[in-house]
Amino acid sequence: MKFLPKVLGLCAAASLTLGMAQANDKPVKIGMITTLSGGGASLGIDIRDGFDLAVKMKNGMLGGVKTEVITTDDARKVGNAKQIATRMIKQDNVDVLTGIVWSNLAMAVVPSVTKAGKIYISTNAGPSALAGKACNENYFNVAWQNDNLHEAMGKYATDQGVKTAYILAPNYPAGKDALTGFKRFFKGEVLGEVYTKLGQVDYAAEIANLRAAKPEAVFFFLPGGMGINFVKQYNQAGLSKTTPLYGPAFSFDEGILKAVGEAALGVHNASQYTWDLDNAANKAFVEAFRAEYKRNPSLYASQGFDAAMLLDSAIAAVKGNVSDTDAFRAAIKAAKFDSVRGNFKFGSNNHPVQDIYVREVVKAGEGVSNKTVGKVFTDHVDAYASQCKM
């Protein structure tokens, strides 16, 4: 939006608050930078939809204060994200920033946000540096630390008595973190550890090698389209009948399952959230989300929603006076809101301490969906918390 008035954002906010005879409090301004175009856009769209839904359910007033959300697309480009953040801080003078999907964008943007004294709430990315050495009192993560879901799969595979595993991920830092996270809790033997090219489309060569290694199970982390390719090809190679697949929720969110279909049946994956979790906050959320967007919320949508509800609780606690950063920060850290995932609190490094579940891909009506089948971790703390000196 840049030079022009924030037409869309303002219209949205205005239509929500129209007719509300509220005292003319200074509105709370929230800057959302997320990925709405290009590859991986579906994640950003889910986050935005979840966040917007919460704002709408609160009648455009988080914590009872008029709320203006400025949403801008970063197109998954670091340069864009950085530029948008600068503008939001310098020009729009937002109080809080949120929304970034990818770790590399977060690593580039978050330090400059916290340096400027603003609060940042991460709705997805949880790189290890920000949880450990480079943690900051102004940075909160409402999703997970990047390793968490992989660690859960490692633990689950061990619990299932898996003795040998073959593991693969793309050749980039998040891929390495994923396999490290898995191995941290997997007690069996790793028969092969393979790093594939980022954005790879054909996995025939890797699948042939994998079959030859004869593992008891396969763990993979291939986000987005790469995961769709892999699961389809794995299934076509006839391996899903003999060698079970394990993965983090990222490869099996609702959007991806639509594209993979029955090829994913029976796959176990780890997540902190699934739409079938049984608690009151989640029931209300799922119902409202389905009514608004005609689909089941993914974990990303839940993270966007929780971020807004967290802000709602904190803004209410400081009675709208968000410029008192110390009080506002303390109110966020208290996390006095009902997360749709149930159990939630912040650890010493402002990252979640939460339960992580394992779920199975099952038939649901026409298509397939996730069903929660058990809990792997209770009050799980990430591995980097001890490195954070705050």
Binding site: F3, M107, P127, N171, Y172, L198
Partner: protein, 328 residues
């Protein structure tokens, strides 16, 4: 008498020099950052114009030099920040925070790369040259993605801007003027270059290389020097970009970035050197303005590019300054 070209140039200069003051007066500090970005991309696009507009070498991998320049700053800052030795250099040098080291390093690294890539790819011509430059850029892209030491795909944070004695680059207006001065300096050098005998031979390579060869010119050497200088310019731009973003990542080398640089050259006016400044401004502003209206802004940008190619070959600068603007 002041010619049309001269007056366009003077007005452009006036705007460039007064922009930060206008932005400050209108309380729009973000304009300064955006304009700085435009200046930096203008340097990169201008460097591409030397080989594209004057030498007829269509490189679809120019963003690779932008990336190397940026990584030079990123890596030196990284080691200086961590206090660790730079592994691929002899001795125990732990990098530096000084801009007087950073920018020369960017230029040196990218010219070196330009020399090597040029030696290999200039053996080919036409579509083969387009593709081999693209392939080398892709190689660099995947190399940086898979290099964990410098962040891989996550990229590297640049902890603070380069330090230059007497100047505070973290002040956006100061940084703007540093970039403007470097742009003007690069333009001056490039202008002198293309107006020299060297430039004449370069233009000749574009028109009819066989003939020059028959006349006894070692055209490969001329093209290689031009390619290396273009690489150096893009490297300088990369070093500045690392400072502006305070971040370096492999995305800067993606092939679409190379495409965007070509777009800037053509949009502004190819073979004019000044045109790329307009092209850079036009593309970045277009992106800013269109993306304000719709997340589907690319569906507008795509056809605009097509129309420019089909019907507006002279580019913005050619349109403003008239016939004489193009000399490449």
């Amino acid at each position: 008498m002041i010619t049309r070209i001269r007056s366009v140039q003077i007005v452009t200069l006036l705007i460039l020099f007064s922009l930060p003051f206008i932005a400050t007066a209108m309380n729009q500090p973000f304009w300064v950052d955006l304009s700085t970005r435009i200046l930096i991309y203008a340097i990169a696009a201008m460097s591409l114009d030397i080989i594209l507009g004057y030498g007829g070498m269509v490189s679809l991998g120019h963003a690779m030099f932008l990336g190397i320049g940026a990584y030079s700053v990123g890596i030196l800052t990284h080691h200086s920040f961590e206090g660790s030795a730079v592994p691929f250099l002899p001795g125990e040098w732990t990098g530096s925070m000084s801009g007087l080291v950073h920018l020369p390093a960017s230029i040196l690294a990218s010219s070196l790369l330009g020399l090597i890539i040029g030696l290999l790819s200039l053996r080919t011509v036409g579509v083969y040259f387009i593709m081999i430059t693209l392939a080398f850029a892709q190689m660099m892209f995947y190399f940086m993605i898979s290099l964990p030491t410098y962040g891989g795909e996550d990229g590297l944070n640049v902890w603070g801007r380069s330090e230059i004695p007497g100047l505070d680059l973290s002040d956006s207006v100061t940084f703007y003027f540093v970039c403007l001065m470097l742009l003007l300096a690069f333009w001056f050098i490039a202008r002198r270059l293309v107006d020299s005998r060297f430039g004449g031979v370069l233009r000749g390579c574009k028109q009819n290389e066989q003939r020059l060869k028959a006349l006894g010119y070692n055209t490969m050497r001329y093209k290689l020097i031009a390619f290396t200088i273009a690489g150096a310019g893009a490297g300088l731009a990369g070093g500045l970009l690392a400072n502006l973003n305070e971040f370096v990542g492999p995305g800067i080398m993606h092939w679409t970035k190379s495409g965007e640089l070509i777009v800037m050259v053509l949009l502004g006016g190819m073979g004019t050197l000044i045109g790329p400044i307009f092209g850079s401004a036009a593309l970045l502003l277009l992106e800013e303005i269109l993306s304000a209206y719709t997340e589907h802004w690319m569906i507008v940008l795509g056809p605009i590019l097509l129309l420019v190619v089909l019907f507006a070959r002279r580019g913005i600068y050619g349109f403003l300054a008239g016939e004489g603007a193009k000399d490449g």
